[in-house]
């Protein structure tokens, strides 16, 4: 019961951005992926979500090969993501941004939508209601009617995470979800992430903040120059000399 990456590689011409890695992201757990800038962390997310075609290897969800699926197909399998450089619909309101995240739960038929049948309108109300509840969970209800693009950075992150988890995916990949947040805010996010994991969702947490990862993750992978240099429980990994060298630099 997990998302697996087997021997996955992504080469851009001569540049081996990710060079043959094996990872497992189990449901109901938080898996960390850390590494210095340019290690290839975001490339891994783009490989799983179908943005990049794999040069070698494969990605499987519950044993089904999903390596060749398109971005929207991968999402409909129940694999959601956020972006490192937040990507909201800037002119849409905060509520509308979360509502579009509910697309997979939207049961409106094409005919109902074009003919304005009551079922389409009641579905709109139901989704608005659900999006509103979700905003409450993230503490951003008071911004519901504002344009998402005008929000403070930390709040934009929350909107994006709310949008990603709106359709109750089985796997969520969070690309630096607490960047730009203070201790209190990142603490609030941490408790939301724990709740998600307890409800059976598998989380892949990509972070620079090693302390945050160590506190939250069940298992951590460390990526450097496209290769995994360590994996295991957070305590062991953060004490690993290779990891310390990769982060601090130079030769120990």
């Amino acid at each position: 019961m997990s998302l697996r990456i087997e021997g996955a590689a992504k080469h851009f011409g001569g540049l081996k951005a990710v060079d043959g890695i094996n990872m497992e992201i189990p449901f109901g757990q938080i898996t960390g992926l850390i590494g210095p800038n340019g290690a290839g962390k975001s490339t891994v997310v783009n490989m799983i979500s179908g943005v990049y075609a794999l040069t070698h290897g494969r990605v499987t969800l519950d044993g089904t090969d999903i390596s060749h699926e398109t971005v929207d197909q991968v999402n409909r399998r129940g694999i959601a993501r956020t972006f490192q450089n937040i990507r909201l619909l800037p002119e849409a309101t905060v509520l509308d941004n979360v509502m579009i995240g509910l697309f997979r739960k939207d049961r409106t038929s094409l005919a109902a939508s074009l003919l304005g049948l009551p079922s389409a309108m009641s579905e709109t109300r139901r989704l608005r209601e659900e999006a509103w509840e979700l905003l409450g969970r993230f503490g951003i209800q008071q911004y519901a009617d504002l344009e998402a693009g005008g929000l403070a950075y930390g709040h934009q992150r929350r909107v994006e995470i709310a949008r990603a988890i709106a359709s109750q995916p089985r796997i969520v990949m969070l690309d630096e979800p607490v960047a730009g947040m203070n201790e209190v805010e990142s603490g609030e996010m941490a408790s939301i992430f724990r709740e998600l994991a307890q409800s059976g969702t598998g989380l892949l947490l990509i972070e620079h903040n090693v302390a945050f990862v160590a506190k939250l993750c069940d298992r951590v992978y460390v990526l450097d120059s496209g290769r995994l240099i360590a994996e295991g429980d957070p305590e062991t990994v953060t004490r690993d000399p290779k990891v310390i060298e990769a982060y601090i630099g130079g030769h120990a």
Binding site: A80, L89, A92, T124, W132, G139
Partner: protein, 301 residues
């Protein structure tokens, strides 16, 4: 009122046709599809109706439905290569489509009447029918604005790769935008041919394309009021500018530049946005809820 209608009836009718073609143009832009193929769809609809009625004696009403079917077919075929393009590339490719339609109309002169077009089309469309068609179109646009298709179109327009990452099959919805634009364009093209007695290829050329684009640029690309406001300006302007005689085009150009500069969302959209800001009902009130923040209940406004 009746006197006003009698005096301005042709202007009102052409205004309604311009509104319809405006919606065809607007619905493509609403989904982020930079298609300017509306004139081409209108040509296909107009020739379908005209040929069926004049040559095969088909009932005009049925000919408009046939025009709609041809519009769907043509826009679906067009979407196969073009739904993959973006932005300026899409605009240029649809511009080429309009030119191809006109070239074909000229080439198959035995069937289409060539440069002379088709004459003696019965005038069966009147203000009432045009109002009905505009009404139905507005209802469909209104419905989709408030439901799933509108939400998806909005997401496509703002960032289609984000839309894909949320599970939206983006090619399918781009195709839908093409088809909606095509069917609306073809219906109003067909009705136009059943109103103007005769049609020729030049009616659907570059000028027609610019005209329906102008309606949306002047009026607005998002709201239901947009094409109405745009078409209204386009209908009234020539009357106001009558003293300028052959220099009327100058006024058109000046107005367009002023609107783009000072009301970039278009006159209709700006008006609707202003009204919304004025009379906005917050979501909390719409949902009958109170805003919760950090466990404490704060009432919404």
């Amino acid at each position: 009122m009746m006197n006003f209608y009698m005096a301005y009836q042709p202007i009102i009718d052409f205004f309604l046709i311009a509104v319809g073609l405006g919606y065809s143009q607007q619905i493509a832009l609403k989904a982020g599809v930079f298609s300017i193929a509306t004139a081409g769809f209108a040509a296909i609809g107009a020739y379908t109706s005209a040929i069926l009625v004049t040559r095969y004696g088909i009932h005009p009403m049925i000919s408009v439905f046939a025009a709609a079917a041809m519009g769907i077919l043509a826009s679906w075929i067009l979407s196969l290569p073009l739904a993959r393009l973006r932005g300026a590339f899409q605009a240029i490719a649809t511009l080429a489509f309009v030119q191809v339609v006109i070239a074909l109309l000229l080439y198959f002169s035995g069937f289409t009447g060539g440069a002379l077009g088709i004459i003696n089309i019965p005038r069966v469309v009147n203000t009432g029918w045009l109002l009905l068609a505009v009404g139905v179109t507005m209802y469909v646009v209104w419905s989709l604005n408030r439901s799933k298709v509108g939400r998806v179109f909005g997401a496509l327009r703002e960032d289609d790769s984000v839309a894909a990452s949320l599970g939206i099959p983006i090619q399918g919805y781009y195709t839908l935008a093409f088809i909606l634009s095509g069917v609306i364009g073809a219906v109003f093209g067909g009705m136009r041919s059943l109103y103007v007695f005769n049609i020729e290829p030049v009616d659907f050329g570059f000028a027609a394309m610019v005209a329906s684009l102008t309606v949306v640029v002047l009026g607005g690309r998002n709201t239901l009021l947009g094409p109405i406001a745009g078409a209204l300006i386009m209908a009234i302007l020539p009357e106001i500018a009558r003293p300028l005689a052959e220099n009327r085009g100058i006024l058109n150009g000046v107005i367009l530049i002023l609107v783009i500069t000072f009301l970039p969302n278009g006159v209709g959209d700006e008006l609707v946005y202003w009204l919304r800001r004025r009379f906005r009902r917050p979501s909390a009130a719409t949902l009958g809820r109170t805003v919760t923040k950090g466990g404490a209940n704060v009432s919404a406004h």
